[in-house]
């Protein structure tokens, strides 16, 4: 009695553990509020907007096209290879199987990087084709692995029996061997399909501008938070897999054996389904070969942060100038940098942060801008150009796009004293109510500032002092996070959090109890600026693009979309809402910024030192 209860309890527990995350996702996909931490009522709007979102739909189609094409081609190659391998002598077969298995066991990141390097080495421009080739490559071993056992099971004698009965070798192969190993081929195809669908890392390294699969698309959204549309899409994907599994398992194999399958089903399974698949793949291929063929047209390849531009702006730019925009997104400066450095893709215009621009200039990766082509730069406030000199000494390489500060976001209902200093983050009163940024430079920057030093300090004593202080703070910190600061603060889960000013404006709109402040000791003021890499192929188009972004109405559109402070004075004047136009968060007074600095590139050695100290803090 108890035993059977325990058994059942155990089963239920496992099921809950397995499905709780998916259930959460499904629930959130119907959440009317944009944040994960608040239930804003039931809605189906994300499903509607999902299907209206051209980018997501494109990514979905690319994903499916690549998964289907790569699985189909890998199945073909893999099956033929498996047949060849199984005909080999034992020793040779073992060796070959070993070799084919290596790519499967190999870490994805190694496969991804080596494929990228190969494509670059043979001057194969990264894009849809390279992703496809990469996916075919890593899918082949899976197909071989699932076909081989079936081939082993199939006695060689069925093939010989067919020959014996008068079939030619080809007939015997098609009519006897293929149907015999068909289950292996199907499972190989499905395995390859899922592997391709799932893959992020290899796709990430082999993709070119303008092409995104769902996984890379979702990842590029991480910075701004994953859109609820993605929850909706994930829910739909999960349900389709569920239905598919259900259908597959519905057919009882016993009944199938006793009598022949129903003729309609037979025709569906044997003829219609493969034909449809074939057509889909073919149409997809043709569609892509035409749609991704932008060569010859006027174009500009943009590499920007995820969710860092109103898509409408791109449409307007294309309409007005006739220059086609190939738009690609990155997640962090550190991911962007090696791509530019490797020269794998000739991006025309990129939007790195201050210290990264300094590093790119140092490494001679950037082209000097021709400011005659960017007359709208006059709209950018002089203060910002002045601040840019910290990383672009003579204002020759960059045009500011967005900027902001790092400060403290606090909940007025939980903190009833005046917040004006970083010291409050060390106040034991707020134990377990403090959220810190999980990022080396931000964490150290704050602490160095609190101690009265420069946040670009490379002085060992100062850094050790900061390390000790951070270690001291650790027991008080609820969590070291990045994105979740926003959601946790909205959800009243913490009293204080270190946050970027752009995020602060959004959190206030969701939770009016939140207040943002730049501590008096000063903080980090950051600037993301547009630059043109040295290997850009369409420099003039890039400059036209930058010029377009500096137009007041366009800059205003982007401000409304991103909510990060704009350095464009003329755009600020266009903001209708007084509260926002005069917001201390978006546009702090000059005196608030008095003690603020931008991050500088400290050199690889100091980077390593920072990282080491940060590890020390985290592992303490």
């Amino acid at each position: 009695m108890i035993k059977s209860f325990l058994k059942r309890f155990y089963l239920v527990l496992i099921l809950i553990l397995l499905y709780a995350p998916i259930l959460t996702l499904i629930v959130l996909s119907f959440n009317n509020s944009k944040t994960r931490s608040k239930w804003g009522g039931f809605t189906g709007k994300w499903y509607v907007s999902l299907f209206q979102n051209k980018e997501i739909m494109n990514a979905l189609f690319t994903t499916l096209a690549i998964a289907l094409l790569s699985a189909a081609i890998a199945t073909l190659i893999g099956t033929v290879a498996a047949i060849g391998i199984s005909a080999m002598g034992k020793r040779k077969r073992t060796v070959i199987m070993g070799i084919t298995n290596i790519p499967m066991l190999n870490a994805d990141i190694v496969t991804g990087i080596s494929l990228m390097l190969l494509f670059i080495a043979i001057r194969f421009s990264l894009g849809f084709t390279t992703i496809l080739l990469a996916h075919i490559t890593f899918n082949i071993p899976y197909v071989i692995l699932s076909v081989m056992p079936k081939l082993k099971q199939t006695s060689k004698s069925t093939y010989e029996a067919a020959l014996d009965l008068g079939a030619s070798p080809l007939q015997a192969f098609l009519k006897v061997v293929i149907p015999d190993i068909y289950p292996g081929i199907t499972s190989g195809f499905l395995l390859a399909f899922t592997m391709s669908l799932d893959d992020f890392i290899i796709t990430h390294f082999t993709k070119g501008p303008g092409v995104d699969t769902l996984s890379t698309k979702i990842y590029s959204e991480v910075r701004k938070g994953i859109k609820p549309e993605m929850y909706a899409l994930s829910t739909l994907l999960f349900l389709s897999v569920l239905i598919l599994l259900f259908l597959v398992n519905m057919t009882p194999p016993e009944a199938e054996r006793k009598k022949k399958t129903h003729p309609v089903k037979r025709i569906l399974v044997r003829r219609v389904a493969p034909a449809l698949l074939g057509i889909l793949v073919l149409v997809g291929g043709v569609y892509y070969s035409t749609s991704s063929n932008v060569a010859g047209k006027k174009q500009v390849i943009v590499y920007n942060w995820g969710e860092y531009m109103d898509p409408e702006v791109l449409t307007l730019f294309e309409e007005e100038t006739g220059i086609q925009v190939v738009y690609e997104e990155f997640e962090t400066n550190e991911i962007m940098y090696p791509k530019i450095q490797s020269g794998a893709i000739a991006y025309d215009v990129v939007c790195p942060s201050d210290y990264m621009i300094e590093r790119m200039i140092e490494n001679d990766l950037l082209a000097e801008l021709n400011y005659e082509n960017i007359p709208n730069i006059e709209n950018i406030g002089d203060t910002y150009l002045e601040q840019s000199k910290q990383f672009d000494a003579q204002n020759r390489y960059s045009v500011p796009y967005c900027w902001g500060t790092v400060g403290i976001l606090y909940n007025k209902t939980m903190v009833d004293e005046e917040v004006d200093s970083w010291s409050i983050l060390w106040d034991e009163k707020y134990q377990d109510n403090i959220l810190m940024q999980n990022s080396v430079r931000d964490a150290f920057g704050i602490t160095l500032k609190y101690l009265g030093y420069s946040l670009n300090s490379t002085d060992r004593d100062e850094l050790y002092e900061a390390t000790d202080l951070l270690t001291l703070q650790k027991p008080l910190v609820q969590a070291y996070v990045i994105d979740q600061v926003r959601d946790k603060m909205i959800g009243n889960e913490a009293a204080l959090g270190v946050i970027y000013s752009g995020e602060a404006i959004y959190t206030q709109s969701e939770n009016p109890d939140l207040e943002y402040v730049i501590p008096k000791e000063g903080s980090n003021v950051w600037i993301d600026s547009w630059v043109v890499p040295k290997n850009a192929k369409n420099k003039e188009n890039a400059e036209a693009f930058i010029n377009f972004l500096c137009r007041p109405d366009i800059a205003k559109m982007n401000f409304d979309y991103i909510t990060y402070s704009t350095p464009n004075e003329a755009a600020r004047d266009l903001i209708e809402d007084d509260a926002i136009r005069n917001s201390k968060i978006a546009f702090p007074d000059a005196k608030d910024l008095e003690n603020c600095e931008t991050f500088k590139f400290l050199g690889d050695k100091n980077d390593a030192l920072y990282n080491e100290l940060w590890r020390e803090v985290k592992s303490h």
Partner: protein, 357 residues
């Protein structure tokens, strides 16, 4: 005597360093039930596969109806095979399996249907058309494999240990079935087995093989009663085999005792092998036989008793309808006619002697 259908002329085959068939010559007559018998690895299956066209001999020729078919592909031969593990097409129904060869040859639908009905009737599987192979028992699958082969009207049906996977009772039933089918079809069967009982029951001619050589060719009676060497004697049925000395014509010294026999022409004082079948050993009162021994083992086998008798440091195998309890002293007597004398191979290698025809 029916005429020769297949003539195998001096074929050899090796896989790597392993010589499987060495310069083998054999002919098969029309309408003959010929069995290739031998232990595993003796080359019998390889020989069969050469007939089917699945192996090409390194040397020698295979002549079929006067034509050299040595290099002809399997699908171009008027020979069909029933494979050891049936090799049914598991994704096809029984009817589709049987129709396979005929569809390839583009026969009409009505012809095919007629043939399927006929074949299933022949193998006693009427009404099985729409079943799948997996749902059939081993014996039924075997019959389907035969039906699938014979609908193509081959001149020769090759059977590679077709009953090996069946249980004893079923195997015996199928033996009679096969004989019946062969008589009904009137074609040549070439049958491979390592089971001597199967070979003795069904065959017109038995070819005993070992280590790539033919040891003896003959009717089941010949092979059983007159084994030409110790290998055949040992392989066919159970035997008492002695290293003996041919003292002179019609006298052989076995275990140091002189036994009268009927064989002549081996010379004087020549080492030979002597074979005595267990059923030819007669037990009598001690002292009245040629030598005396003691019964050490007794099993009741139904038709007869199987006994072991220890005499002159040799364990004699004896089959008798008369029972002597364990521990009984007995005299052993053998009719001179029942002692089979064989030339002794000089060395190990020569144990596998090629037989001249």
């Amino acid at each position: 005597m029916p005429k020769k259908l297949i003539d195998i002329q001096g074929v050899s085959k090796s896989f790597g360093d392993n010589l499987v068939i060495d310069d083998l010559t054999l002919y098969i007559r029309e309408n003959e039930f010929l069995t290739l018998l031998g232990p595993s690895g003796c080359g019998k299956t390889t020989l069969l596969r050469m007939l089917g066209g699945f192996e090409t001999p390194d040397q020698g020729k295979v002549i079929f109806e006067g034509k050299n078919i040595t290099d002809i592909a399997p699908n171009k031969r008027q020979i069909n095979t029933v494979f050891q593990k049936y090799a049914l097409f598991t994704h096809m129904t029984i009817a589709e399996n049987i129709a396979f060869g005929m569809k390839i040859k583009k026969h009409t639908k009505s012809y095919i249907e007629e043939k399927i009905r006929y074949a299933l009737k022949l193998v006693n599987l009427e009404g099985f058309e729409e079943r799948m192979p997996d749902s059939l028992s081993g014996g039924q699958q075997q019959r389907v494999a035969i039906a699938r082969a014979i609908v193509n009207e081959p001149k020769v049906l090759l059977l590679d240990e077709p009953l090996g996977a069946l249980d004893l009772k079923l195997r015996q039933d199928m033996q009679y079935e096969l004989i019946r089918m062969k008589n009904e079809l009137g074609i040549t069967f070439v049958y491979v087995t390592h089971d001597q009982e199967e070979a003795l029951t069904m065959s017109d001619t038995i070819v005993v093989m070992n280590q790539g050589y033919i040891q003896q060719i003959g009717t089941p009676e010949d092979i059983y009663n007159e084994p030409q060497n110790a290998f055949v004697a040992d392989f066919i049925g159970e035997s008492n085999i002695f290293s003996a000395l041919m003292v002179e014509d019609k006298l052989v010294k076995i275990l140091g005792v002189d036994f009268p026999c009927v064989d002549v022409g081996f010379g004087k004082n020549k080492p030979v092998d002597a074979v005595i079948r267990p059923e030819d050993v007669e037990l009598e009162k001690p002292g009245s036989g040629i030598i005396d021994g003691i019964v050490t083992h007794l099993i009741f086998k139904g038709v007869h008793y199987e006994m072991e008798v220890e005499a002159h440091n040799y364990t004699w195998l004896v089959h008798s309808t008369e029972m002597f309890p364990v521990g009984t002293m007995v005299g052993i007597h053998v009719d001179p006619f029942n002692i089979q004398i064989m030339k002794k191979p000089v060395s190990e290698d020569e144990e596998a002697i090629e037989v001249e025809e």
